[in-house]
């Protein structure tokens, strides 16, 4: 990942060159797929962040969406909207070109200079704080409902989410000694395991679904050594359900030295759940809690 910096350092950056080339080809391929669909005349909202877009749609305001960012993939029809790219590297002119009058964005959009320019163009910008709790999701819904001027719908959705979450978490509760140890792996690139510690969306979801996060030694997502994986002794491996290095075949996965010795490998227990559903913390999180709980305890996993 520092290949490019190294290139500036005058040392061979062939890996960087190839990565960039492939990246560019991918980007071009992706852009070729983007169809400019006929915009709804009332559409004026740019939504940034998967869970924000999902909340807009659940509030019945999907028709007002004019564009989205790369992380917005649900509901499926939003993928037809123009994509302004990755939320941390927005292009100021690109954002203005989709002509939004309101930008709803998850915390942490950038770069700051781009946001300054967007504000200078008189586009309303509402930041939606991240959430890892039921209350947090409800706050997101309230803020988005207010920005879209649909407070009644927001109230109803917030109440529904509150009920569903409470029930899902309650139904998932189990005695301490009965809980399975779950290891969430963000990626297994090059045989190196990038796992979730505490304070992440994955950690929160595992606990809500009646599991125990097998890794509690560090906050955030980090690469961990093979031996630490063995020590964590997970009963189940949890991964995102998508291609690339995330979608390693089971045989390959359980053949990794780190995983081989864990209880999870003995039972071949691996779960793959859609990333946005699992980590988005939005209207579908209650479903994610139920799904994960069910997969952990009811499917003989």
């Amino acid at each position: 990942m520092f290949g490019k910096l190294k290139t500036c350092g005058g040392r061979g950056g062939f890996a960087a060159i190839w990565t960039s080339m492939i990246g560019a080809c991918l980007a071009i391929a992706v852009s070729a797929e983007q169809s400019a669909q006929p915009a709804n005349p009332h559409a004026d909202v740019l939504s940034i962040g998967g869970s924000v877009t999902e909340i807009v749609a659940t509030l019945g305001q999907g028709h007002r969406l004019k564009a989205r960012d790369t992380t917005s993939s649900y509901p499926p029809e939003v993928t037809n909207l123009p994509d302004v790219g990755y939320m941390r590297a927005l292009s100021p002119e690109g954002v203005l070109s989709v002509g939004p009058s309101l930008i709803l964005s998850e915390e942490g959009a950038g770069p700051p200079e781009a946001l300054d320019v967007i504000r200078a163009a008189d586009v309303a910008f509402v930041e939606v704080p991240n959430a890892l709790t039921t209350k947090g999701i409800q706050r997101k819904i309230r803020i988005i409902g207010k920005a879209l001027d649909v407070p009644t719908r927001a109230k109803a959705l917030s109440a529904r989410v509150g009920r569903e979450m409470t029930k899902a978490i309650q139904d998932s509760t189990r005695p301490e000694g009965d809980k399975k140890r779950v290891l969430f792996m963000l990626s297994t690139q090059g045989g190196k395991i990038n796992a979730s510690g505490t304070g992440t969306a994955a950690d929160a979801l595992i606990r809500m679904a009646g599991g125990v996060n097998a890794i509690t030694d560090f906050p955030g997502y980090k690469q961990i050594t093979d031996e630490a994986v063995g020590m964590a002794a997970p009963d189940v491996i949890l991964m995102m359900d998508r291609g690339g290095d995330h979608g390693m075949a089971d045989d390959e996965l359980f053949d990794m030295p780190a995983i081989k010795l864990t209880p999870a490998a003995q039972n071949r227990a691996v779960l793959r759940i859609d990333g946005l559903l699992m980590l988005g913390f939005g209207p579908r999180t209650a479903k994610a809690v139920r799904d994960l709980n069910h997969a952990l305890y009811n499917e003989g996993a």
């Binding site: 520092f2 910096l5 060159i17």
Partner: protein, 355 residues
């Protein structure tokens, strides 16, 4: 006219051709600048705006923002950064008498990279007043300080009794690069997911964060460094014959080395600070020019500034429009355009291609 270029009529011929290139490149630069102001994701065009202004109409706020807050500062930054990288490349190649040297050799790249990483990963731990002091520009400021610091350190290490050893500098640069890389690696471990993404994007370079504040911060330093470099041509020509010979024909070699290194550190440090890691411009531009009009450094430095600016602004135009409304990091564009050219140059040097 120095004695060196009077040796053969062919050389004078080439020199006049290289000087004629100045004008061609200057014209191309104007054209490139116009293109860069003309195109963009919003479909607002320079020609339409000029037409409006000529009619005495006022611009809409959108037009004003796009022209004044987005495209103009971006153009200015592209011109400055492109010129800085290409001129630094030409100066380093002359100084090290190696056509494959680039500004990174004096440790600017590694140092600036380390500075940027420190800012991205540890920035949150700093007291608020310090962050306010840098006006939200902590990463560029840190990158600049890192680039400067590492260059001065290298210069100190490789200078003994008032003589700078270019070979020592090269080796020390590699060591320093490795050290900076290792420290960066430790910080990558500390970084959270979002910071890692920021690091990746910083490393690919972008002009998306262009603003007048950044242009004003980096501009004077880059201009000063580029103008200073323009005076190095004769000295670098002399140096091509070896240090002793250069000294015999009346060139103060040590003074020239110091000036060249400081100019490169200033230009590259400022450029990397405002635009992240942009590769290849520093190597490819002087090379193309040497192929076109010979190795004489006097026209080469000015031509490098012009062509570097042209290529970077063009790369930025591509980066902005190819996947609109999103944009590609410009480092990807320069690598995709620059890497094949670079490989071709290498193969040509080995006599593997006939072109």
């Amino acid at each position: 006219m120095s004695a060196i270029t009077d040796i053969a009529p062919a050389a004078t011929d080439r020199l006049s051709r290289a000087r004629a290139l100045h004008w061609a490149l200057a014209a191309a630069l104007l054209l490139t600048a116009a293109i860069s102001l003309q195109v963009g994701a919003t479909g607002v065009t320079l020609s339409a705006m000029l037409g409006k202004l000529a009619q005495g109409e006022t611009l809409t706020q959108m037009e004003r923002v796009v022209l004044w807050d987005i495209r103009l500062p971006r153009l200015a930054m592209g011109l400055l950064v492109g010129a800085a990288l290409a001129v630094s490349g030409a100066a380093m190649q002359g100084l090290f008498r190696n056509p494959l040297a680039d500004p990174g050799i004096v440790g600017v790249g590694a140092g600036a990279g380390l500075g940027a990483i420190l800012a991205i990963v540890l920035g949150a731990l700093l007291p608020a007043w310090l962050i306010d002091l840098t006006g939200n520009q902590l990463t560029p400021v840190a990158a600049f300080l890192g680039g400067w610091g590492s260059t001065l350190l290298l210069y100190r290490v490789s200078t003994r009794h008032g003589r700078t050893s270019v070979a020592t500098m090269l080796l020390a640069g590699i060591a320093l690069g490795a050290l900076a890389g290792a420290l960066s690696g430790i910080l990558v471990y500390i970084a959270d997911d979002r910071q890692l993404r920021d690091l990746t994007f910083w490393g690919l370079g972008s002009l998306a964060g262009a603003s007048w504040a950044k242009v004003l911060a980096a501009g004077p330093m880059i201009l000063l460094a580029v103008i200073t470099s323009l005076t190095l041509g004769r000295g670098l020509n002399g140096l091509a014959l070896g240090e002793a010979t250069a000294a015999h024909i009346g060139i103060d070699v040590q003074r020239m080395k110091s000036i060249a290194i400081l100019a490169v550190a200033a230009a590259t440090g400022a450029a990397v600070a405002v635009s992240g890691g942009i590769g290849f411009i520093g190597i490819v531009v002087p090379h193309l020019l040497r192929l076109a009009s010979g190795p004489d450094h006097r026209p080469l430095i000015l031509n490098s500034a012009l062509l570097g600016a042209i290529l970077l602004v063009l790369a930025d135009v591509i980066a902005r429009v190819i996947i609109a409304p999103a944009e590609l990091p410009i480092g990807i564009v320069t690598a995709v355009l620059g890497a094949p050219v670079f490989l071709w140059i290498l193969l040509k040097r080995r006599g593997l291609v006939e072109l």
